[in-house]
Symmetry: C2
Subunit: 260 residues, 2 copies
């Protein structure tokens, strides 16, 4: 593990990347849901999602992104391409990138034998594909549909179907080394963000280790924005939120705790 | 322009990448909607979305991804970070990556002066930030909120707010050189995909230039899957769909045109 030292000094910042694999995302057919759920889950583990890439079902493109991301971040998660059909090539692509053979994992085979015992067709050849792993891999339990996920090195290989990916994340909860979770405090106001831009910049600058994001909206015929204050230090985030609220009030905009 | 020759020979395949810029996507706070809408729009223009990256509001990380993607694909689209606040750093990051200065675009200033003339605060310093562009850039009309997008070289810089990005795409419709749009035909069946995996693989192999994606679901207590047949040749896609439907029927699964 190579968690990098944060700018603050002693605290380590743990980072992860997510590699989303699938033609259906790049064609616009399917709206991705995994970025948001993996991001949220990582944050709870004290790990920062630092980059996402989406690549097509192409072995070379998967391998290239995989090798770039696994070297750069502490953890790499992938979603998609581990089902039973011909377009599910993630396992082969990862094995090729890692230069290891693909093998049948005996525990995965046992799980699938059990899962398909009483179903039409049984454990046929297509289903047995889901027991294939890069040599040296361990399994990630899948509480929702039998076929397990895969862990190899710092790579966590998950299903693309969001509720199955969620069940794999659930199984991994608390098992990855991480740092302090980033907490956020949100303050909303019926202020056009362009009228409080100076206030935001100055408030952020006055609080070390705190970032303020500004997210404008137009709702009920009026402009407004939510300001999200993020920090690894809950007290500092709240202190910054209080200063921002005072500033908004002084500028004539009533702050709303928790956002609008 | 460097559209690569497709495997088919004479036809060019035009490609694009999308760079999504924003801490709010990587924190899980905001569910991205731009990947799907840019993908769908590109497909209508005859351009293939070949890669997506999501990076934080960090100038170095934006520049690195920008330079990698603009060199590799015919077009590069970005979303996010072009508003009036301190966390909107996309223009500066792109200018730095292209090694050009940031300048005020006179037409953008005129648009903003007009837009903010009768609003509280007028064209203040924060709002004037939205007239800043990398030197040499042209504008992309924004039909929904005043501040324009930016075109420089093969890079198209758009807002992160999905309905504003949509209005910029609308303004660009038909203006980019592209190839033949990819069409898709969908066939659904109440078939567990693992029971028709061989049929899918063989049907795809028998139709050159056609890809079949398999998207399983569990609905109303039963398994099923939709099979999406994609090709630049509408007749070939339909022919492949017909063969697949026949094969599904022969296997005891009633095909449903258009999917389930």
């Amino acid at each position: 593990m190579n968690a990098s030292e944060s700018e603050a000094g002693a605290e380590s910042v743990w980072t992860a990347a997510l590699l989303v694999i699938g033609d259906e995302i790049l064609s616009g057919r399917t709206q991705d849901k995994n970025v948001a759920q993996v991001a949220t889950w990582l944050n709870e583990q004290g790990i920062r999602l630092a980059e996402v890439r989406v690549v097509p079902d192409d072995s070379g493109r998967i391998g290239e992104a995989l090798n770039a991301l696994r070297a750069r971040y502490d953890y790499l998660f992938t979603t998609g391409g581990i089902g039973p059909t011909h377009d599910d090539i993630t396992v082969d692509a990862i094995a090729a990138a890692l230069e290891v053979p693909v093998v049948i994992h005996p525990d995965a085979r046992a799980i699938l034998e059990d899962h398909y015992r009483d179903r039409p067709g049984g454990l046929n050849e297509a289903r047995l594909r889901m027991a294939r792993v890069p040599e040296g891999a361990a399994l990630i339990p899948n509480l929702s549909s039998g076929a397990p996920g895969i862990k190899i090195g710092n790579i966590y290989v998950m299903a693309g179907v969001p509720h199955i990916a969620a069940s794999m994340l659930e199984a991994l909860s608390g098992t990855l080394e991480g740092g302090r979770p980033v907490v956020s405090v949100t303050v909303g106001a019926r202020a056009p963000e362009s009228e409080v831009a100076d206030l935001l910049r100055e408030t952020e600058a006055a609080h070390a280790g705190v970032s303020i994001g500004s997210y404008p909206f137009f709702k009920d015929g009026r402009y407004g924005a939510n300001f999200v204050i993020r920090s690894e230090d809950p007290a500092e985030a709240q202190a910054c939120a209080n200063v921002l609220s005072d500033g908004l009030r002084a500028a004539g905009f009533e702050p709303v705790d928790g956002g609008i």
